[in-house]
């Protein structure tokens, strides 16, 4: 036992000897990976844990993720219990005290007010999030508020590059504000339009654009669409004048297509996060693609 301990310490010392100069960041979702690239560029190393084709509610606590978590100096996630099925397990297995809590743990949804916060929670209502809807990446104003808080956190953890972070934030903010103006002008025709959604993950986008949701393919959040529920949506979709049935790139497209066939309302797959389609290469592309696709069904 003692020998083993000694060896473990020796190995630990040897492997961890070369001190990593760059801040290493573990981003739970691709949108935060992209935001980190905007805010820090090459000054940090970013590991993105999930892709746009995975449902971040139910990701496996894979060994490779434990290894990444082990080396991280900062954890950037959506929070609001979105990653509750796997993140706590990664943290407990990785043994990395830096990212467990405090400065090394950055939860995006905690930086802004969340919507859909339930007054009471009960699983009969589906997989509800007591801290509100965590899918905050599709409101550009919230993204900007998160960017500011994240930039400050980067500067706090890596004071040597504080000037870089400050400068890059200023640059991002200028471009982002300009982009918001463009998006809002472009999206004006979408105002007041209705959609049917797959999962209740679009509230921030819909609110920003002045659109509204008239139905959801999932009978309850997180509960897979059933044929009975889908049938009940046919009338709602037609009479509500929905312009599209929207789902995210990671979701099963069949239920949406089924409803589209019976209502004539087009099923639309939106990227939802960075990497969700070819155009959504970064945060700007994500918004460009989302708006282009939504506007596309109006024509």
């Amino acid at each position: 036992m003692r020998k083993m301990l000694l060896w473990m310490i020796v190995v630990a010392a040897v492997i961890s000897a070369p001190v990593q100069a760059k801040l290493r960041v573990f981003a739970c979702e691709p949108e935060w990976g992209s935001l980190l690239t905007e805010l820090a560029g090459d000054a940090i190393d970013v590991d993105v844990a999930t892709s746009a084709l995975q449902d971040v509610h139910v990701v496996e606590a894979r060994p490779s993720l434990i290894a990444k978590m082990r080396k991280a100096d900062l954890l950037v996630c959506s929070g609001a219990q979105l990653e509750i099925g796997w993140l706590p397990q990664l943290l407990r297995q990785a043994g990395n005290a830096k990212v467990g809590s405090g400065a090394g743990s950055f939860m995006a949804a905690s930086q802004v007010t969340t919507l859909d916060k339930p007054a009471s929670v009960d699983r009969s209502a589906g997989d509800v999030h007591p801290d509100g809807n965590p899918h905050v990446q599709l409101d550009p104003y919230r993204v900007l508020a998160i960017a500011k808080a994240l930039s400050a956190r980067l500067a706090e953890l890596d004071a040597a590059n504080a000037a870089t972070y400050q400068q890059r934030l200023g640059d991002f903010e200028t471009r982002w504000q300009a982009a918001i103006k463009g998006w809002e002008a472009k999206a004006a025709p979408l105002k007041g339009k209705a959609v049917v959604v797959h999962h209740s993950a679009w509230i921030y986008l819909l609110q920003w654009l002045g659109m509204h949701e008239i139905g959801s393919l999932e009978p309850k959040p997180g509960v897979p669409p059933t044929s009975a529920h889908l049938s009940s949506l046919i009338d709602v979709t037609k009479s509500g004048g929905a312009i599209a049935i929207i789902s995210a790139a990671y979701q099963d497209s069949k239920p949406g297509e089924w409803l589209a066939q019976r209502t004539g309302v087009p099923a639309l797959v939106l990227p939802f996060t960075v990497g969700g389609d070819a155009q959504a290469k970064d945060l700007f592309g994500l918004y460009d693609s989302t708006l282009d696709k939504l506007l596309g069904v109006l024509k």
Binding site: M1, M4, M8, V11, A12, I15, S16, S51, L53, Q54, V58, E60, A61, R62, P63, S64, I66, A67, R70, K71, Q81, I84, G85, W86, L87, P88, Q89, R92, Q93, A94, G95, N96, A97, G100, S101, V112, T113, T114, L115, K117, P118, A119, S120, R123, G126, D127, D139, Y141, R142, L144, A145, K148, Y204, Q207, W208, G222, V223, P224, Y250, D252
Partner: protein, 442 residues
């Protein structure tokens, strides 16, 4: 921000002048003025930064308000219950597992005997008919900034009597540096793959034969654990445990209550986006004094495990395949006293037994899983438990998940513990989890 360059240029001009003037008092006066100006500039700078921050905050707030006209109202309403519940806000997370079964056996479990492997721990055939499985209550929370704690209670009724058992009760560090984690209390050993997993995360309603025969279903005891995760690209975990040695395969708390030791290593990683693997090698060194199978002496168990998962785009939610195998070598040196006949002579036992299983799971939709498992045990050729026959079993199952919190399972097993004894088992099971959302290991 602007006062700074102004002050600086002033200061520079002053110092340039000062250098040309040879008279001491003047220099001193000028130096004093420079200092005062610098201090002034600094104050102004801080004030300016504060003002900027305040302006930014106000702007952010405005933007916020703009983006959630309705949201503000929603947030206000929902904020109330959480403040009302503040006294309970620090309560540990509570998770309940409920589970019930119906089993139909073609043979009476009373006659069930495994050739070469006496029944130990909970490792035997299930109860026929309708019965409640193990109900589990787990409490867990961070204790403070350095410790995490967990208590898992198991409730089981056995012949009308209810037994409450402490399945796990341990504390674990959260703040050790360099990837170290220490644990103390009662817990399941980290050897192998399934051993550290609670049975409710298994693919089948019962444990593989090798776990039943060599570990009494699952090895846990009172002890301490130290583990370390290497800062490498590939996942590598090394660790060791010391246990009291009361439970099978140890027994009698040998060596003044330090009767069992383990060493384990786990490694894993991804191959592309769609494939992940996890492999491990472990050893359990147990000293038994009058163990459950009558054995006293030294028992080394070597375990090797390999898990491979494939899922389209790495999204296991909707479809995927898991293949897992574990192999056991049980190496004994000591003697056996038949617990049924204490007057009989002790028989020496030096030898090896082996066991292994392979299981596969295919998830063909978000709600349906199908799986198959093949088990085999290799008995010893000589010694008190010698047998020419090697017990084997085939198991198939079909599981329906309504959500990640509930499942119904149908399982069929063809179990052959002896040459001319075949137990065909049909199992129907429900299993649900209530309360805190569990985060499961890979």
């Amino acid at each position: 921000m602007r006062p700074l360059p102004l002050a600086l240029s002033l200061a520079l001009a002053c110092s340039a002048q000062a250098a040309e003037t040879p008279v001491d008092p003047q220099i001193a006066a000028l130096a004093e003025r420079i200092r005062a100006l610098e201090a002034n500039a600094q104050t102004l700078q801080i004030q300016a930064a504060d003002a900027l921050a305040a302006a930014q905050a106000a702007q952010a707030e405005l933007e916020q308000m703009k983006s959630d006209q309705q949201g503000a109202a929603v947030a206000e309403v929902s904020a109330q219950p959480s403040t009302g519940a503040s006294a309970n806000a620090f309560n540990p997370a509570i998770a309940l597992i409920l589970n019930g079964l119906y089993e139909n056996h073609s043979q009476d479990p009373v006659n069930y005997q495994r050739a070469g492997f006496p029944q130990v721990g909970e490792g035997g055939p299930g109860t026929p008919g309708l019965h409640l499985g193990e109900s589990e209550i787990a409490f867990s929370a961070n204790i403070d900034d350095k410790f995490y704690g967990q208590l898992t209670l198991a409730l089981e009724s056995d012949g009308g009597e209810v037994h409450t058992g402490i399945e796990e009760a341990y504390i674990e560090t959260t703040a050790l540096p360099e990837g170290f984690t220490a644990r103390a209390g009662r817990f399941y050993s980290n050897i192998g793959y399934l051993n550290s997993h609670h049975t409710h995360t298994d693919f089948f309603s019962d444990r593989p034969l090798a776990y039943q025969a060599f570990l009494g279903n699952q090895y846990g005891d009172d002890g301490v654990q130290l583990r370390w995760v290497a800062p490498t690209e590939i996942y590598l975990e090394l660790g060791s445990e010391v246990f009291r040695g009361d439970n099978y395969p140890a027994g009698g708390a040998a060596h003044s209550g330090i009767g069992a030791k383990t060493f384990f290593a786990h490694a894993g990683g991804d191959i592309g986006v769609e494939n992940s693997w996890l492999a491990g090698a472990s050893v359990l060194h147990a000293d038994a004094i009058g163990g459950e199978d009558g054995f006293s002496g030294r028992n080394n168990i070597y375990l090797f495990d390999l898990t491979w998962k494939w899922a389209p785009n790495g999204a296991f939610k909707d479809s995927g395949v898991v293949v897992r195998g574990e192999a056991f070598v049980d190496d004994r040196k000591g003697f056996v006293l038949d617990p049924e006949e204490p007057d009989a002579l002790a028989q020496a036992w030096n030898g090896k037994r082996r066991g292994a299983y392979v299981e596969g799971l295919y998830r063909f939709s978000r709600t349906w899983d199908a799986g198959y498992r093949y088990d085999k045990l290799w008995a010893a050729a000589d010694g008190p438990y010698a047998s020419d026959f090697d017990p084997r079993r085939s198991t198939a199952m079909l599981t329906w998940h309504n959500s990640e919190f509930s499942l119904l399972r149908l399982q069929l097993a063809h179990d052959q513990p002896q040459p001319h004894f075949i137990d065909n088992v049909l199992t129907l099971q429900y299993q649900v989890s209530l309360g805190a959302h569990g985060a499961h290991k890979f």
